[in-house]
Symmetry: C2
Subunit: 148 residues, 2 copies
């Protein structure tokens, strides 16, 4: 594969990712969950279903634990999560989603489905499955990087 082809593939992938991010975010806002940024969504994904500590969240997001702590402050203040004492470590605090936080993740799933639907109409259900399979196989295990 030539370099220019790799770049074309990369550009298409990044363009789709940017569009998808924007659509999910817009859909979440449209469902009444305001004051959130896309980075919060990546945090919510790590907090379901069993919660996580600030340090785990920081590793997942690829930021410092101070930044993760500030982000938790924010979603706690807005009622999406709460801090509980950690059952096994008195230093740590377990951050868990509230009912509103869970409702927000469901809204994000709906928004994602809305965003993907036009792809299915364009490519067909079968091709979408193929896309899902391909992406899953090349997806990394490391931290999701919420900024570029």
């Amino acid at each position: 594969m030539q370099n220019s082809e790799a770049m074309a593939l990369s550009a298409a992938l990044l363009a789709v990712a940017g569009e998808l991010t924007q659509r999910i975010h817009d859909g979440v806002v449209a469902r009444g969950f305001e004051g959130l940024r896309p980075a919060h969504g990546f945090a919510f994904a790590r907090l379901t279903p069993d919660g996580a500590t600030v340090t785990e969240l920081a590793a997942h997001l690829g930021v410092t634990k101070q930044a993760a702590s500030q982000l938790v402050d924010e979603i706690v203040r807005k009622g999406y999560a709460e801090r509980r004492p950690h059952p096994a470590d008195a230093r740590a605090r377990l951050v868990v989603l509230t009912g509103r936080g869970l409702a927000c993740t469901r809204a994000a799933e709906e928004a994602a489905a809305d965003a993907v639907r036009p792809w299915a109409e364009l490519l067909g259900e079968r091709e979408i499955r193929a896309l899902q399979g391909q992406l899953s196989r090349i997806a990394p295990y490391g931290p999701v990087r919420p900024a570029w």
Copy 2:
């Protein structure tokens, strides 16, 4: 398609995009082009091959023209681009890449090829072509959003 499936597809896509962004950036740095962020890459893509005005760049990046102007200041100061008088409009200035800027875009293409190569080994050349085709068909025409 269920919401949770759409979310899984979205998560895989965003994870791959994040990883790809990081790898391209690292590859560019490894080839000796420092002091750049991924957002600069999106700008370079718009500046090739014929240059662009600050306002066009701002629209492409989805930011204000002040932010685009600051970004141009930065890449001019670092020797990647230069401002020229616009041939047809005395208000505007045409921002064009220097030789170093072009060399940097070639480095980015090489880095993209390096990043994609392991995918080809995993999926096979044929599947990569399919992926390229699928993504190209669902890629938006609007501004690339360099932040989420």
